[in-house]
Amino acid sequence: MIEIHGISRIYMREDGTPVPALRDVSFSIGRGEFVTVRGASGSGKSSLLNILGCLDTPTAGTYRLDGEDVSGYTDEQRSNIRCHKIGFVFQSFNLLPRTTAVENVEIPALYVGGRVDRDRALDILGRVGLAERAGHFVSELSGGEQQRVAIARALMNDAPLLLADEPTGNLDSAAGESIMRLLAELHREGRTIVLVTHDDGVAAYAQRELLIRDGLIASDRPLPGASAHAPDSTAAVPASG
């Protein structure tokens, strides 16, 4: 699903000094894997996530997503990739205010072109357990419910890759747990999930953990708890450096 080879991302300070956020990182993630990315703040995990999400392009290296080399893509091409291949789940939900749940779910479909399938949006909302809340405004929903809407939105275009950035960070533990169960379920359906988190509890649901430190992959290990979740057989490539 994801093949990263020799990726670097170097930011330029205003005075011209380069600040490397990622240094020659390589790894791959197989289709259907559930991977958590962990690391202290400033370790480079946000940069990695931005590149994985095609929001940013690497300074060097290649990134193949679903067999397609996207590292040199233009803004427009990356928009297209995000639209069709990637579902985002954010820490602070990022739902549009003053908008109903189902309208939020429909947003990714707007950018595909053609008709927006409201029934599909309602269907997905039903799958995340919010069938009755479809017509409610975002402000009328609890945090956990809002994150469910966001997950439903990430599924709208049937993206094979879900990128979740601290999806439980703004939730109490009960709501966080239910969100994790939902993600685990989506994983069981065969979706690839990459999840950035600080939360140790999340480890119980994932198969594999990437630890990032100073722009390098410090460790890449399978998680024992994951064995219950029918792992995809793709072997992890050891991290370079």
Partner: protein, 406 residues
């Protein structure tokens, strides 16, 4: 994003942020309404000036018998001069080309008496063409004719104000009016004109046939003045020169003596008035234009704030697959839709306000469609530009930064 989604989503956003939407609409509407109203108001003013000039006679030359001279140490002018005679008048009509119409005139302030009411008013003895020259119409009754002049008929036409003063709401037609104790029959009442550009209120005068005034009222055999309506306004200077030359010869004025008459036109007055009107028009258009720009800046400011407030939304939409142009179109559509609604509303409001202003200021109501459309067009272009700018900013945002924006 298809057009249908763009429109539906845009209209929904407009409804969701309705306070802000109302602000944009008001802003655009006020700009257009202000421009339209002020331009129409200026056009109304110009229209009024033009119609007053029309009343004054645009191709009018007035010959006045005047000679400054000293009699017993006092300067005397005017009616004392007895040199402008019927023979002069006939010679003028015979020898000077390019005169369409003319009327000799005498005048004096005399006492009018109708029933128990009396007042002193200027009485003008004129020929029938006088009213044509002045493009004046009757409120009621009939003008007098050449026949009335020939037989010095005792008929009188009343200025509107005189008729009011002497007869109130009664119909004065056929009533008896004494002028210096001579009985006259009221033949007609002239239409109201108000104060002219020459500051004479013609509504406060009465008009009798020329010969009647000369023989029955004033006992004169010379004229106070002669009004000439020149056929072609290009000819004014030439006719004035011809008239001057002819009269100098007839009056045997030697080369170094001044004229004993003046030949004047209203040209200068008209030009001053027209210049003032067009200066006002220019000023008003400028104010209107500035108003438009200010309202456009208002639209810009609100659209700018909208983009800033919705930075997170922009980041989110970009992450979910929106291309730059999707974001641009979304914001440009929202802002320019509002601006268009506002401009349309402003056109209607401007029409109403123009009517109101015209009726309040007693000016003719003019809806200057060309200028209104110009204002509308400018508003549309300005607002589109001003709405696009923040939209471009929105489209250019780095999605990563936008997502992080608090």
């Amino acid at each position: 994003m298809t057009w249908r989604h763009l429109m539906r989503g845009g209209l929904r956003q407009i409804w969701r942020y309705r306070l802000r939407s109302m602000l944009v609409i008001c802003c655009a509407a006020l700009g257009v309404a202000g421009a339209v109203t002020s331009v129409n108001y200026a056009s109304g003013g110009r229209q009024q000036v033009l119609s007053r000039i029309q009343q004054l006679g645009t191709r009018l030359l007035v010959i006045n018998a005047e000679q400054s001279r000293s009699v017993g140490g006092r300067a005397r002018t005017g009616t004392i001069v007895t040199t402008l005679t019927e023979a002069d008048y006939l010679a003028l009509r015979r020898d000077v080309d390019g005169i369409a119409r003319s009327s000799a005139m005498v005048s004096s302030g005399l006492r009018l008496k109708a029933g128990y009411l009396s007042k002193v008013a200027p009485v003008l003895g004129v020929e029938p063409d006088f009213f044509a020259i002045k493009s004046w119409v009757l409120a009621s009754g009939d003008f007098f004719e050449a026949e009335d002049v020939r037989r010095s008929a005792r008929v009188v036409l009343l200025g509107w104000q005189v008729a009011r003063d002497l007869y109130g709401d009664q119909d004065p037609l056929g009533e008896r009016l004494f002028i210096n104790r001579v009985p006259f029959e009221v033949a007609g009442v002239l239409a109201q004109r108000g104060q002219g550009l020459d500051v004479i209120n013609e509504d406060q005068q009465v008009y009798v046939p020329l010969t009647t005034a000369m023989r029955r009222l004033l006992n004169l055999d010379h004229y106070r003045s002669i009004l000439l309506d020149v056929e072609d306004s290009q000819d004014m200077v030439r006719v004035a020169a011809d008239v001057t030359a002819l009269l100098r010869v007839r009056h045997r004025i030697s080369a170094f003596r001044p004229d004993d008459f003046t030949v004047g036109s209203q040209q200068e007055l008209i030009e001053t008035q027209l210049a003032a009107a067009s200066r006002l028009g220019f000023l008003v258009r400028w104010i209107g234009f500035s108003g438009l720009v200010v309202s456009g800046l208002g639209v810009l400011a609100i659209a700018w704030i909208a983009v800033r407030d919705r930075t997170r939304e922009i980041g989110t939409r970009r992450a979910l697959g929106a291309r730059r142009r999707d974001v641009f179109f979304q914001f440009a559509f929202e802002a320019s839709t509002l601006a268009m609604i506002g401009a349309g509303t402003g056109l209607g409001a401007g029409w109403l306000a123009s009517r109101l202003a015209a009726s309040q200021a007693k000016l003719p109501f003019v809806f200057d469609l060309d200028n209104a459309l110009l204002a509308l067009g400018m508003a549309v272009v300005l607002n589109f530009v001003f709405a696009s700018w923040p939209a471009i900013r929105a489209a250019r945002m780095d999605p990563i930064q936008a997502l992080r924006h608090e």
